[in-house]
């Protein structure tokens, strides 16, 4: 029979707290006071290393080099890490249960539970001045350097050390802490530093002195980031809101010695722990200044959780929390709440007492809530006995309800099964219902995988209908790492297990195999990977040059193709590189696109080795236009010319390039003669410019030299002369011979310049049919009408009449219409 649930309850003014013993620890008596300890949240593991500042009797069996021990909450040794690096200043845990170890010289290592690590450094400043302390949380850290600068990292996946504003202190702070980014107004981490008599709040931008009456020797931020507990040097515990705007409570402990640990228990009370040589005292202080004192024989360690605090003693793991309200309602002595009555009714029912019926009748109206409460309370219960009783009570109550949605009941039963499974001492995750809700089942499964509890993870996942891929992948990786069998056997074992799940990603498994020194196994496994894109990075690192390029192309992701191309380019001799790329069209295309923008020399080499003359020629041609120096320009053109000439299909281009060299030479000459800029103009533009400059003969010469068509030449000259308003010359030009473009363009161009007088000169040279409307355009309606009349074109004549604004002329036109009509 389990002890009465209220047996561990402690009253603190109007509310109850309970201390539940979760585990008797598996470890042998450990003197916690001699260690630096870091405990992970959500019932996670505990890491400890001998504190080198504390005296310890050197015993025979103890190794000289320190060891980081990682224990489960039940005291089971999960991993030990031989420590051979520099001094550790702080340890902490990430959300993924990786152990973060901060070293004095500014390096941060992150260990997983298998003892493998990755590391990064905090930058120059940290290296030069050393790191003195570090605050670590689930997804980031803030380090304090020897010269009191703060360096923050807010993402462990992509650590980017960022220096925060200078706090402006010159002596070690009394204590300091951080407010996590998710709880600050700015969504960036804020650091609170207690120095002198005050607290300075530092963020990325600036440091603000809060001007408080301190000094403060200890502080802690509540789990929801809203409140700050401060311990003053006079022994006062002071709770304020984290923006220092609201004073919440004060309590005098009468202890001049700062507590060893100051921790929040949920969000409404604070736990202080003094480690004195004579006694170990824990003081829990409620929001209204009430307190409870607990004593321990040996040193303890407090791990704050979102809904309470885990107390690790030398031989026990306890959980201290405020009694959840449904539990309190049911079990509190003398409670008459509906849920308590329901629970009681079940007891009567089982004892076949008629009082059961009375109870149910009494709470009829609130029965639904009572059932919900019992379910909820079951969730908060650690003892399986009471979980069962409470669920039974709920099920009993449920029978009296007409329509009750049992979903909640079923879910809770599921949750309890999962929680009980992971709470089992061998697994050692003493997770509470509130924590489980926050953590999500997926993360819980991840934690199980990281502890290599694949089978349990698998069972829970299939029980909760969660995807099992990650578990299988992790299992396969672990299998490869641990296995000593030959690759054939491992490969078959893995594929057999995983083949049920067709779309599973093999890339990570293959990568593990490769890292484990089994490249052949890696290649074999990689063949099962359905995503080409995922194969590529591994293939690159496996030196599978050609295959990685092929797979990248297969993926259709050009970014990936580029990645491989650049890798190969850097790694291989040029010839070899080209050989690999050459027969792959997409790779060739992308290389060209890249080179055109970034690396023309490489492009030249590429075209040359592949004997792509026309492309080479085009490239030379294009480059020539970028040259400002004429000589250079011509020499580039000559290269292009040579290449074009080699190809019989490109005689036209060759001819054109030849011409372009001639044009350049001509233009240089013109520049010399006329002191005007010509280079860069086309032939037409050159002629045009000559005309404008009054160099008709030069223009004519260019025309014959480059076989410019008569028509084009006439247009250019016409436009040039009109532009310079050289009407005399224009007239001469028009008369020089019969125009190949007719005379309408002359009229039109003059009209564009609003030179109606000039325009009229050429109208009569145009086709008779076009004349009337041209006259209309220059406003000569009389002439227009006459021409239409001559043409015997009635329609046009009427149109002229319609457009004519002048009544006198209009009259004349009308006459002509009548005349034409009568004819």
């Amino acid at each position: 029979m389990a002890p009465n649930p209220t047996s561990g309850w402690i009253q603190l003014q109007d509310r109850f707290y309970r201390k539940v013993e979760v585990y008797s620890l598996l470890w042998k008596q450990i003197e916690l006071s001699k260690f630096i300890i870091a405990g992970a949240q959500y019932g996670g593991p505990i890491a400890m290393i001998r504190d080198d500042k504390k005296v310890l009797l050197l015993q025979n069996q103890q190794p000289i080099k320190p060891i980081i021990y990682i224990y489960s909450s039940a005291g089971k040794l999960l991993q030990q890490i031989q420590w051979d690096k520099g001094r550790i200043v702080a340890m902490g845990w990430t959300e993924q249960e990786q152990l973060v170890v901060a070293m004095e010289e500014g390096t941060i290592r992150m260990y997983n539970l298998d003892g493998e690590y990755t590391q990064f450094t905090l930058g120059k400043e940290a290296k030069e001045h050393g790191v003195t302390d570090c605050q670590i949380w689930g997804n980031g850290l803030v380090a304090m350097t020897g010269n009191y600068q703060l360096i923050s990292v807010t993402n462990f996946e992509e650590p980017r050390p960022k220096q925060l504003a200078d706090p402006g202190i010159s002596e070690p702070p009394h204590c300091w802490t951080v407010i996590l980014p998710q709880y600050t107004l700015s969504r960036h981490v804020e650091v609170l530093i207690a120095t002198a008599a005050t607290i300075i709040v530092v963020d990325g931008q600036d440091a603000v002195d809060q001007r408080l009456q301190g000094p403060f020797t200890k502080m802690a931020v509540s789990p929801n980031g809203k409140f700050l507990a401060l311990f003053t040097s006079e022994g006062k515990l002071w709770v304020v809101s984290t923006d220092f705007q609201k004073n919440l409570s004060e309590f005098a402990t009468k202890s001049g010695i700062p507590p060893q640990q100051l921790a929040w228990c949920g969000t409404d009370s604070v736990v202080l722990y003094w480690e004195l040589s004579t006694s170990k005292i824990v003081l829990m202080i409620g929001p209204f200044g009430d307190w409870i004192k607990l004593s321990y024989d040996d040193a303890i360690y407090l791990i704050p959780e979102i809904d309470g605090v885990r107390v690790i003693t030398a031989d026990k793991c306890e959980f201290l929390q405020k009694v959840p309200s449904p539990t309190e309602e049911i079990f509190a002595i003398g409670s008459t709440s509906a849920s308590a009555m329901l629970y009681d009714a079940l007891d009567h029912f089982e004892r076949k007492s008629p009082k059961a019926d009375d109870n149910i009748r009494g709470i009829r109206a609130e029965l639904g809530d009572a059932v919900d409460n019992c379910i909820e309370a079951a969730g908060h219960e650690f003892s399986e006995h009471y979980q069962r009783l409470l669920l039974k009570a709920a099920a009993f109550g449920k029978c009296f309800l007409d329509s009750y949605n049992a979903e909640q009941f079923v879910n809770m039963a599921q949750n309890l099964r999962v929680m009980n499974a992971v709470r089992y001492y061998d697994i050692g995750i003493p997770i509470t219902y509130a924590q489980y809700q926050r953590l999500t089942p997926e993360s819980l499964i991840d934690r199980l995988i990281n502890r290599n509890h694949h089978l349990l993870a698998m069972r829970i996942a299939s029980y909760l209908k969660i995807r099992t891929d990650r578990i299988l992948i992790h299992w396969a990786c672990a299998k490869i790492k641990a296995s000593t069998e030959d690759e054939e056997t491992i490969c078959r074992a893995i594929v057999d297990k995983l083949s049920l799940n067709a779309s599973l990603s093999y890339a990570e498994i293959a990568k593990t195999a490769y890292k484990a020194g089994q490249p052949r196994l890696a290649t074999r496994l990689l063949d099962y990977e359905p995503r080409a894109a995922d194969q590529v990075p591994l293939l690159i690192s496996m030196q599978e040059d050609e295959l990685s390029l092929v797979k990248a192309i297969e993926s259709g992701d050009t970014d990936l193709v580029y990645l491989v191309i650049f890798h190969l380019k850097r790694k291989l001799p040029l010839g070899e590189f080209f050989r690999l790329v050459n027969n792959k069209p997409l790779a060739c295309n992308l290389l060209q696109v890249y080179c055109k923008e970034q690396d023309r020399e490489l492009l030249k080499d590429f075209y040359y080795q592949d004997d792509r003359r026309i492309e080479s020629a085009n490239l030379s041609l294009e480059e020539s236009f970028g040259e400002t120096d004429i000589v250079e320009r011509i020499s580039k053109l000559r290269i292009a010319l040579k290449l074009y000439q080699d190809d019989r299909n490109h005689t036209f281009e060759a001819k054109m390039v030849e011409d372009s060299i001639k044009v350049l030479q001509l233009q240089t000459q013109l520049e010399k003669d006329l002191k005007e800029s010509f280079v860069g103009l086309s032939i037409s533009q050159t002629i045009h410019k000559c005309i404008i400059l009054g160099q008709s003969s030069k223009a004519a010469k260019i025309k014959t030299d480059f076989k410019v068509t008569e028509k084009r030449f006439w247009w250019i000259k016409l436009q040039g002369l009109v532009e310079t308003r050289d009407w005399e010359e224009l007239e001469k030009f028009a008369k020089s011979k019969k125009s190949p473009i007719g005379y309408e363009p002359f009229v039109q161009e003059c009209i564009k310049m609003r030179q109606f007088q000039e325009a009229s000169k050429y109208i009569m040279k145009c086709e008779p049919a076009a004349r009337p409307m041209l006259f209309v355009k220059i406003g000569a309606f009389r002439e227009a009408a006459e021409q239409a009349f001559t043409n015997k074109d009635m329609a046009t004549l009427r149109e002229v009449r319609a457009k004519c604004p002048n009544s006198v002329v209009g009259q004349e036109v009308d006459n002509l219409i009548i005349q034409l009509d009568t004819k």
């Binding site: 980017r160 259709g556 050009t558 060209q592 890249y594 036209f652």
Partner: protein, 698 residues
């Protein structure tokens, strides 16, 4: 108020925008304090459609710069870059960081957000430049820019078509696939994917493969997918199919001059990201609807917003937030003048109502209507101004000769006057893009030019526009736009065949009451949209048999009567019993294989199904989707243009939507909006000389 015209269809396009809009402040808040924002010049337009400048200000943006090769001298302590993952940008950023590093008194925090995805390539370049450690990288997912409820665009650079077909750079296909996957995540799988063209095929293949691979990704990150359920495991309840049109299949359409109102605005003023630059006198002082959005994040460096003085052009938003514009945009320009006139009269009458207002109550109602009336008035003034400006071009002989030439070409009317006309254009040194547009059209429809003619034109062009165009012409040849007609070249016959079978030319067009999509080009029906009609409306196609040449066999589709496309069922049933049900069921290309063979590139027709394993789950998701969106029988067909889409094509598809009213909605999705000029400009070479000039103009 930005773009409040969205979100009125079952697909609720506004939610595409809102997702991006929500992300922007989040992204800005990753950096503490005041910050400078450096934007990819290509993104300022799209961004301004998503969020107002005030959002930026509210989140601490003090200054906005354009990302270019100038080194900024700024006193901002935080710089946020937002750009597409292009190599040149990485170089600019690296140069900036290195420069700032020299000044040790400065301590600047840099962050860079890639639109829409970070690439390993860019990371590598940053690493090689030695600045990767100094910059925080992130992503800013902005796959789609919604313009209208029936038009969304990826707004890539104009060169997509050229990259795909000339450079062989398939990056755009990958991007398009990613963006379409995003749509599938939101709306569910497209039940059917059909398409025409080699790139379309590649895209469809990639979509299908990505779906398979996505399953892997989602399984791996199951925890995230739980919070944000993607619909990749169920067929879409709203979308019936995706039609992919590879731009390369129909180059005829963009090369022709667009004749709808919006199309002509684009041809003459150039519409950029749905904004058009207008003379301030046209826009007027009162903010027109949507106008406040158009305050593009100040483009010029050093916040030269003050420099946006009078005389400088103003941006005007063209979208259905402007009610008048939404009435006009799809109309053939020929009827716009009359309509504007009518509206002017109505507005005038509305103003006159004030004289009838006798009682206080009547006056109050009138005054209440005033703001709307004034806004409408202002909008009318603007559009009248635009229309006049367009008119001044369309009445010129030059414009009409060009139009006539184009229409002769697409109609297959042979005459030699085209050659003379084009030659004259060159002789007059008209802009090269104008010349090439009509020349390429000629080459395309005639299956190439005679060797002699071709060489003559090449020579004329090179001599007139410069030797750099040796390359331009070579590229056009490789793109199949400017070729020699060979005896074996069947494409001349091919176009004629397509023209006949798909009845691309419709002689009687009533612009006022169009009965067919051909109204958008006054007689030429865009081939691309005809293909869509084949796939979606199941217009009955006659077989292009050699025995019945010359007669449009699709009379029933476009028959002059009011029955329109729904056409005579009689003919349809004669042709093999395609009954009305075909209109709602989706059968892909079935029945049109022969026509598709006439056009270049592969055809795709894939049906996506949901595996039985997931069926229950899928049904549940589908049911959920249905509940949340309400049940509609009307399905939406997505038409995706790979390589760009013209405004006329959008109008033509809207016309289809009108015909299919109640049966089917359409959503046009495109890589970007193009016209013939922007299409060719990506190929036309420029020398540093030209570029220097053009910069000044800008």
């Amino acid at each position: 108020m930005s773009a409040s015209h969205l979100g009125k269809t079952p697909l609720d396009i506004a939610k595409l925008r809102d997702a991006v809009r929500k992300r922007l402040p989040e992204l800005l808040d990753t950096v503490r304090g005041k910050k400078g924002l450096i934007l990819d010049p290509q993104l300022t337009g799209p961004l301004s459609l998503i969020a107002e400048i005030s959002i930026l200000k509210d989140h601490g943006v003090e200054k906005i710069y354009h990302l270019d090769d100038n080194i900024l001298d700024t006193d901002c302590k935080n710089l946020i870059y937002i750009c597409r993952p292009k190599l040149k940008y990485m170089k600019y950023i690296a140069a900036q960081i290195r420069k700032d590093r020299q000044d040790t008194s400065k301590r600047i925090e840099y962050s860079l957000f890639f639109v829409s995805q970070r690439t390993m390539l860019c990371e590598r370049v940053l690493e090689e430049e030695g600045v990767l450690g100094d910059i925080t990288l992130g992503e800013f997912a902005m796959e789609w820019i919604p313009f209208e409820d029936d038009l969304i665009s990826m707004e890539l650079d104009n060169s997509t078509w050229k990259e795909l077909n000339l450079d062989g750079d398939t990056t755009a296909i990958h991007q398009a696939a990613k963006s379409l996957m995003k749509l599938q995540q939101i709306y569910g799988l497209f039940p059917r994917i059909i398409g025409k063209g080699d790139s379309a095929k590649a895209l469809a293949d990639m979509l299908i493969r990505m779906r398979r691979e996505q399953a892997v990704v989602e399984e791996v990150s199951s925890s995230t997918s739980r919070q944000n359920p993607s619909l990749l495991n169920s067929l879409s309840t709203h979308i019936d199919q995706l039609v992919i049109i590879d731009r390369n299949v129909d180059l005829y359409t963009p090369l022709c001059t667009q004749l709808t109102y919006e199309g002509l605005i684009d041809e003459i003023f150039r519409i950029k990201h749905s904004f058009v630059e207008l003379d301030p006198s046209l826009v007027g002082t009162a903010p027109a609807p949507g106008q406040s959005v158009s305050a593009q994040p100040a483009a010029t460096p050093a916040g030269a917003s003050a420099a946006v003085a009078a005389g400088k052009k103003k941006n005007y938003a063209l979208n259905s937030g402007d009610k008048l514009f939404s009435q006009l945009c799809d109309l053939n320009f020929a009827v716009v003048g009359g309509l504007l006139n009518k509206i002017a009269k109505r507005i005038n009458e509305n103003y006159e109502e004030r004289h009838q207002a006798k009682t206080m109550a009547q006056i109050r109602t009138f005054v209440g209507k005033l703001p709307d009336l004034q806004q409408e008035h202002q909008s009318l003034r603007t559009h009248t101004g635009i229309a006049e400006e367009i008119m001044s071009q369309t009445i010129t002989d030059e414009f009409n000769r060009m139009l006539e030439t184009q229409q002769n070409l697409v109609a297959g009317v042979d005459s030699n006057s085209e050659v003379d006309y084009i030659e004259e254009l060159i002789d007059k040194q008209e802009p090269i893009v104008k010349v090439l547009r009509v020349l390429c059209l000629m080459s395309l429809v005639q299956g190439g030019l005679k060797a002699k003619v071709l060489e003559h034109f090449k020579r004329e062009i090179i001599q007139t526009y410069g030797y750099e165009h040796i390359q331009t012409l070579y590229d056009l040849e490789r793109l199949g736009l400017f070729n020699v007609r060979t005896s074996s070249n069947a494409s001349r016959a091919a176009y004629a065949n397509v023209r006949r079978t798909l009845r691309l030319i419709v002689n009687e067009v009533d612009e006022h009451n169009p009965a067919d999509i051909s109204y958008v080009y006054s007689g030429y029906a865009p081939l691309s949209v005809r293909l869509v009609q084949c796939a979606v409306q199941k217009i009955s196609a006659g077989h292009a048999g050699g025995s019945v040449p010359g007669i449009g066999l699709l009379v029933n589709v476009v028959g002059g009567g009011s029955s329109g496309t729904i056409g005579s069922n009689q003919t349809a049933s004669q042709n093999g019993g395609q009954d009305k049900t075909d209109k709602t069921t989706v059968t892909g290309w079935k029945g049109y294989e022969e026509i598709l063979k006439l056009l270049p590139g592969a055809a795709v027709d894939e049906v996506q199904t949901v595996e039985a394993k997931n069926e229950r789950e899928a049904k549940a998701t589908a049911a959920r989707a249905k509940r949340s969106l309400g049940s509609h029988h009307k399905k939406t067909t997505i038409v995706f243009f790979l390589g760009g889409c013209t405004f006329t094509e959008v109008s033509a598809i809207r016309f289809l939507a009108q015909q299919d009213e109640g049966v089917r909605d359409y959503l046009v999705a495109t890589t970007q909006m193009i016209n013939g000029s922007t299409l060719l400009e990506s190929v036309i070479q420029s020398t540093p000389f030209d570029r220097g000039e053009s910069v000044e103009q800008v």
